[in-house]
């Protein structure tokens, strides 16, 4: 499945480097800073998982990389380097050249990402054409080819279908085919299997893994499912309330999580291969996510919280090679996980 102990420098240099990115949102007349100095990176050829629950800011981060921020959002600071180029400094035209060729995204709801008025074969063909390699006829032929590569049976017939005639899983495969046509260096997959059945989910991830092996694309996989992370990703980034909490190779994250939030997540995870024990303390933890805290935003729920956690943002510290944590008190809780 996955190599648990990969060398910390990853499989190549850094391809994507997000540095100290802050994004705010206009909410009811007030500007709320959702992403707070977020920094993470994806190496060439690596599969990185961005894990977080709702409100963690993981989707907002990916939208920032793609340049798809909604109007109510504003970038307050930081930079996003893709292969050495700061995306935030690009003009919209330059950015649109980057999209597709260097970075592409597949979304949660695949059907709504497709044009409902165009047959899927034509949509993939257009993606092929945009890469400039072929003329119209050649592009369509290549499109059908790609559709069968992503495992769509009867590709020639299915290519003539409209998105609403295809199932969710099929639509997602069409998106992967479009992505293959573009051959981006970085693929961002934002919860690509939410709403799909588990057996279909397995097929889609198998497809993504195969694509990664064949093309060497780097993948940033955004998910809340720790099972998917364990099986598919090599490195993991944990986010909470718009802040990065911990980063580690997947094996280290599961074996010895340093951050109290990661420990909380891992202790609440359910498994199908064994019966999980119910949590000991039945005190219901507060659920609400607050973006107004100056220090660490996990403070309201943190079992290892110190007074300084509210006021001061912790520095990034190294636990071991490749494993970093952003917490004042991680030593106090490290090693005491399950």
């Amino acid at each position: 499945m996955t190599e648990a102990n990969l060398s910390p420098s990853g499989v190549g240099g850094e391809y994507l480097s997000v540095q100290s990115l802050s994004v705010s949102f206009l909410r009811r007349g007030q500007r709320v800073r959702i992403l707070d100095r977020v920094s993470f990176s994806v190496d060439k050829g690596d599969i990185v998982g961005l894990v977080g629950e709702s409100g963690s800011g993981k989707t907002l981060s990916s939208l920032s990389v793609m340049g798809f921020l909604p109007r109510a959002a504003r970038i307050e600071g930081g930079s996003i380097f893709l292969d050495g180029v700061d995306l935030l400094a690009l003009s919209p035209e330059e950015m649109s050249k980057v999209r597709g060729r260097q970075v592409a995204m597949i979304f949660q709801s695949a059907r709504s990402a497709l044009n409902p008025m165009m047959r899927v074969g034509d949509q993939v063909a257009r993606a092929v054409q945009l890469q400039g390699a072929r003329g119209q006829a050649g592009a369509y032929e290549q499109a059908v080819n790609l559709l069968s590569q992503v495992g769509i049976p009867d590709a020639e017939k299915r290519a003539r279908a409209y998105p609403h005639q295809l199932s969710g899983g099929m639509c997602q495969r069409v998106l992967v085919a479009m992505m293959l046509a573009c051959r981006p260096s970085l693929l961002i997959a934002d919860e690509p299997t939410t709403g799909l059945d588990v057996t279909i989910q397995a097929q889609i991830f198998e497809l993504i893994r195969k694509v990664q092996q064949d093309t060497g694309t780097s993948i940033l996989l955004i998910t809340h499912d720790l099972g998917v992370v364990a099986e598919t990703c090599r490195r993991v980034i944990v986010m909470y309330a718009g802040q990065i909490m911990e980063t580690a190779p997947v094996g280290l994250l599961f074996a010895s999580p340093a951050h109290p939030y990661t420990q909380l997540l891992l202790s609440s995870v359910l498994r199908v291969d064994r019966k999980v024990a119910p949590p000991e303390n039945v005190t219901i933890l507060r659920e609400e996510v607050t973006y107004g805290i100056v220090g660490c935003r996990f403070a309201p729920r943190c079992p290892a919280v110190l007074p300084m956690c509210w006021e001061q943002r912790p520095e990034r510290e190294e636990v071991t090679a490749g494993h970093t944590v952003i917490c004042h008190n991680w030593r106090g809780s490290h090693g005491s996980s399950h």
Partner: protein, 297 residues
């Protein structure tokens, strides 16, 4: 220390209604609403205290002061019987407004109940009601009211009923639409699951959530009702002279416009516009407010 619950409790304190805290914020961003409300208050004041403040009775004729232009004794002039126009307009509010409210109340009441019923149960009843409303909506409301009055007979109560009947299809449609989507929601099913009979699910659980489009329409209908009542009166249906009613006044003053006496028609006409406009502004603003922000989060 930063209070962690602040960003999460919203502006509402426990015990207050669901949306009260946001009222002021909403008003501030909809100036049309404020203007509409101001005009509405103005008209209501006119209705309530106006008659106590005017100098002349609405029916008091004065043959020497016939067709006088606006002057310090008669602010809006006099009509062809020497009656003070301002007094008549003020007294007119006591007719037009209650009639408009009655019309809308009847149409709203019947329309909403009917719309909820057919929307919830569907089936043949629903199909029949829909076809009937289709036919009714094919005609402009005024024409329909005109026809109804002709059938029912020319009297004020009949005019009220006629106009109300013309408006009912709008309310049926709107409410039915709201119910069709609301009844699929889990809380409707939960209401049945808990043991509510169908009528309770419809009227206690679903109705409060389906009322909004109908209420918005109701405010708009108030404006239309004033126009329709005045229009029918202008044609001689419903209210008749010498009763002071804005439409009647416009009708009576119409023939004098040619000879240059514009004020007997103009001011009542303006009043109709002001009142209808007020309701339209309120209704439009309500529609804007309730559409996007109904789901507050």
């Amino acid at each position: 220390m930063v209070s962690a619950t602040k960003a999460y409790d919203n502006e509402n304190t426990p015990g207050s209604g669901p949306y009260r805290g946001q009222l002021w914020l909403t008003l501030r961003s909809h100036p049309a609403m404020i203007i509409g409300l101001a005009l509405f208050v103005f008209v209501m004041l006119m209705m309530v205290v106006g008659p106590l403040m005017v100098a002349y009775g609405p029916l008091k004729t004065n043959p020497e002061q016939v067709l006088q232009p606006p002057s310090p004794q008669h602010w809006l002039g006099t009509d062809n019987f020497g009656r003070d126009i301002l007094s008549r307009i003020v007294y007119g509010t006591r007719l037009d407004l209650p009639i408009a409210f009655s019309v809308v109340a009847i149409a709203l009441g019947i329309g909403v109940l009917l719309g909820m019923w057919t929307g919830y149960y569907g089936g043949m009843v629903d199909d029949t009601v829909m076809r009937v409303t289709d036919v009714m909506l094919a005609f402009p409301a005024f024409i329909l009211a005109l026809a109804m009055t002709a059938i029912l007979g020319n009297s004020v109560p009949n005019v009220i009923i006629a106009i109300a009947i013309a408006y009912i299809p709008y309310f049926v449609r709107l409410t039915r639409g709201a119910v069709l989507s609301a009844r699929e929601l889990d809380y409707a099913e939960a209401a049945r699951c808990v043991g509510n009979p169908g009528w309770r699910v419809m009227y206690l659980h679903l109705l409060p959530n389906c009322l909004t489009p109908a209420l918005v329409q109701a405010t708009l209908c108030l404006g239309w009702a004033i126009l329709d009542v005045a229009g029918l009166a202008f044609l001689g249906l419903g209210i008749r002279p010498p009763t002071p009613e804005w439409g009647v006044m416009v009708s009576e003053g119409a023939r004098d416009i040619i000879s240059g006496q514009w004020w007997p028609s103009f001011f009542p006409g303006m009043m109709i516009v002001v009142a209808a406009f007020a309701f339209n502004l309120i209704g439009d603003s309500l529609r804007d407010i309730t559409s996007p922000t109904e789901a507050t989060e």
